[in-house]
């Protein structure tokens, strides 16, 4: 096959493009390697907890019945926060968590799709009816943080928010039943 100058030049263009595509590959690899690296070393994952729960009977269930909501410290030191996202309120509307200690947040919705984030932290999850949304995290700074509902859930969506009190470890004192409530401010 005798190549004309035309074809030589055309293949040069394609080789240049291929070189660029290689650069694109580096870009893709760089962004992915950060993800894989932090997943392997710091256990960074998106909150994924395929745990089914019937939204219709949440209030009859053990864990998400009204009086069991809030922060509980279990015997082994595990800190679990359970909250309901419902139209148009988080229950409880304030919960306390310790700073710099592993906390597990568990949310469920009895009605429609909600979502939440805690300002200034990486806590963020959808609360989908039918599933327990679970986030494992450590709060790195103390203070009162805002936890709004960030997914459209109806006409009262904008007024749906809660407060998260991140307490220094020495102020985070569970009662005899392991429960911790928000300090009154």
């Amino acid at each position: 096959m005798s190549d004309t100058p035309h074809e030589v030049h055309e293949s040069r263009i394609l080789r240049t493009e291929l070189l660029w595509a290689f650069g694109v590959g580096i870009f893709v690899a760089a962004s992915l390697s950060m993800i894989v690296f932090t997943a392997l070393t710091l256990n960074v994952n998106p909150p994924s907890n395929v745990e089914r729960i019937d939204p219709k009977t949440l209030h009859l269930s053990g864990e998400f019945a009204e009086q069991n909501l809030g922060t509980t410290v279990f015997g082994d030191g595990t800190v679990i926060v359970r909250a309901i996202a419902t139209q148009f309120m988080f229950v409880p509307q304030c919960f306390a968590v310790p700073a710099n200690r592993r906390v597990t947040l568990r949310f469920a919705s009895p009605d429609v799709i909600h979502g939440l984030l805690i300002t200034g932290t990486n806590v963020n999850t959808m609360v989908v009816p039918g599933f327990v949304a679970q986030v494992h995290t450590e709060f790195t700074r103390t203070g009162d943080l805002l936890m709004p509902c960030h997914e459209f859930c109806g006409q009262g969506h904008s007024e749906m928010w809660a407060t998260v009190q991140v307490l220094p470890v020495d102020l985070f004192k569970p009662g005899p039943d392991g429960r911790v409530s928000c300090a009154k401010r």
Binding site: W20, T38, T140
Partner: protein, 65 residues
């Protein structure tokens, strides 16, 4: 180099092409240089910004999983 742009879009409205082939051949000797520098710098900035946000904003806010 021959002029042969017959097959790209040879509708009747497409006959005129104001590009001079010799001029084109001469600029094609430098051509992807500027583009490579410009696009390469942009992509490098994107990666840099991404890594900075990842390490300086995301990670200090506490890991999630």
């Amino acid at each position: 180099m021959q002029s042969d742009e017959s097959s790209a879009a040879d509708s009747k409205l497409e006959v005129a092409d104001e590009v001079d082939e010799t001029a084109l051949a001469s600029v094609m000797r430098t051509v992807p240089l500027g583009a490579a520098v410009l696009a390469g710098a942009t992509v490098a900035l994107l990666v840099l910004g991404y890594l900075l946000i990842y390490t300086l904003v995301f990670i200090p806010r506490g890991t999630v999983g």
